[in-house]
Assembly symmetry: C2
Homo-oligomer: 225 residues x 2
């Protein structure tokens, strides 16, 4: 009894979730068949429908398994930063790091985490309306909270501008997570830097903080180049 593998509670579910995470990342949701999925997981073809109900429900389970704790960690990081600051306003960099650092730490996890992070980066723009709706629903409370924090930290930025810049920030992050190592559009980045989350976090934070703090765009009327 002393030597024993980790508890096999719901071992089948876990094997399915792990295999799904890897295959969804590699071939997409539609591109992954139940047969290849269950074969990779080493379970029977009917196991997914038995344990999760359907393929769609499995997709949701894969996303929630990691996203729920991740967003909870983001909120906790923001809470802690605000407590540490007393009543003072937070530096924008601090808020940015609270948001991106939890997801970037998964980049270093060569096991399953990195698979998920790329999968997540792609889900934001998935063709399926149901998936986008799920993502939006899971993120809504977190983004509201961070929007309020940014608004306090950046009193000089108009609300309208802030909303757009948060969109841009979100886009930069999601694309970086999804594509940085799969499509090398701009040559020149050292490969060993790609999986260094601390380095990536520094680079992203510098870029995003500058963008968020930028002087407002020209109000309107622009014609000549």
């Amino acid at each position: 009894m002393t030597l024993r593998a980790v508890k096999p509670i719901h071992e089948t579910q876990t094997r399915i979730l792990d295999a799904a995470e890897a295959l969804f990342m590699q071939h997409g949701f539609e591109g992954t068949s139940m047969r290849s999925l269950t074969t990779r997981a080493g379970v029977n073809l009917a196991a997914v429908n038995y344990h999760f109900g359907s393929k769609d429900a499995l997709i949701e389970a894969v996303l929630r398994r990691r996203l729920d704790p991740m967003n909870a960690a983001r909120l906790a990081a923001l809470d802690q930063a605000e407590r540490a600051a007393g009543g003072n306003a937070l530096a924008p960099e601090t808020i940015i790091r609270a948001f991106i650092s939890t997801s970037l730490s998964l980049v270093a996890d060569a096991r399953g985490g990195r698979n998920f992070i790329r999968l997540l980066g792609r889900s934001y723009t998935d063709p399926s309306r149901a998936i986008r709706a799920l993502i939006g629903q899971l993120y809504a409370p977190v983004l509201e909270r961070f929007k309020a924090a940014f608004a306090r930290a950046l009193p000089g930025v108009l609300h309208e501008d802030l909303v757009w810049r948060m969109h841009f920030m979100f886009g930069t992050l999601s694309y970086t997570l999804a594509a940085t190592d799969t499509v090398q559009l701009i040559a020149g980045a050292k490969p060993e830097d790609r999986y260094d989350p601390a380095l990536l976090e520094d680079r992203l934070t510098a870029f995003l903080a500058a963008g968020l703090l930028a002087p407002a765009a020209r109000s309107s009327a622009r014609k000549a180049a």
Copy 2:
């Protein structure tokens, strides 16, 4: 003979390409069947295989039809800006606008252009290796040219940093194109602003220029928050 519809040169091909563009955007490549595609185009089921060879070849044709002229326009815009500047260095904002303006102008085209632009934004992170390879190949010469222009315009930015920041810039743009109106993660943007390319260009340029010009990230050793 006086009244006559526009030349039906390859009318079937065009109908197929238009229908494919719309459906690929809405349901993705894999999510679009040949039957729904040909039905929408009003052509026979076998027409795609007759005119293009296969579904994969059609995907490539859809991407090339708009992407080739778009990248040519980008290069032309950059050429013109450099000629106008004589031998002087370009402002980063000018280079950014040369890159993003051609794609943003399609956002206003409610007919087909907007469909394509969203489709394109999603293709960068498509699960299919073949599609990503095609995108990379089509973009390679353009990105090399713009990288050189940015390097000249931003002499203070290390090459290593510049490469990453161009990645971030590309990500911001692609996400903005792909998702801004389909997933409204951060509430608060006026809907009527979403399709105003001039406004969007101003906002993006301000954000990206600031990010590109940001002071370098802390070199390394970072531990305490």
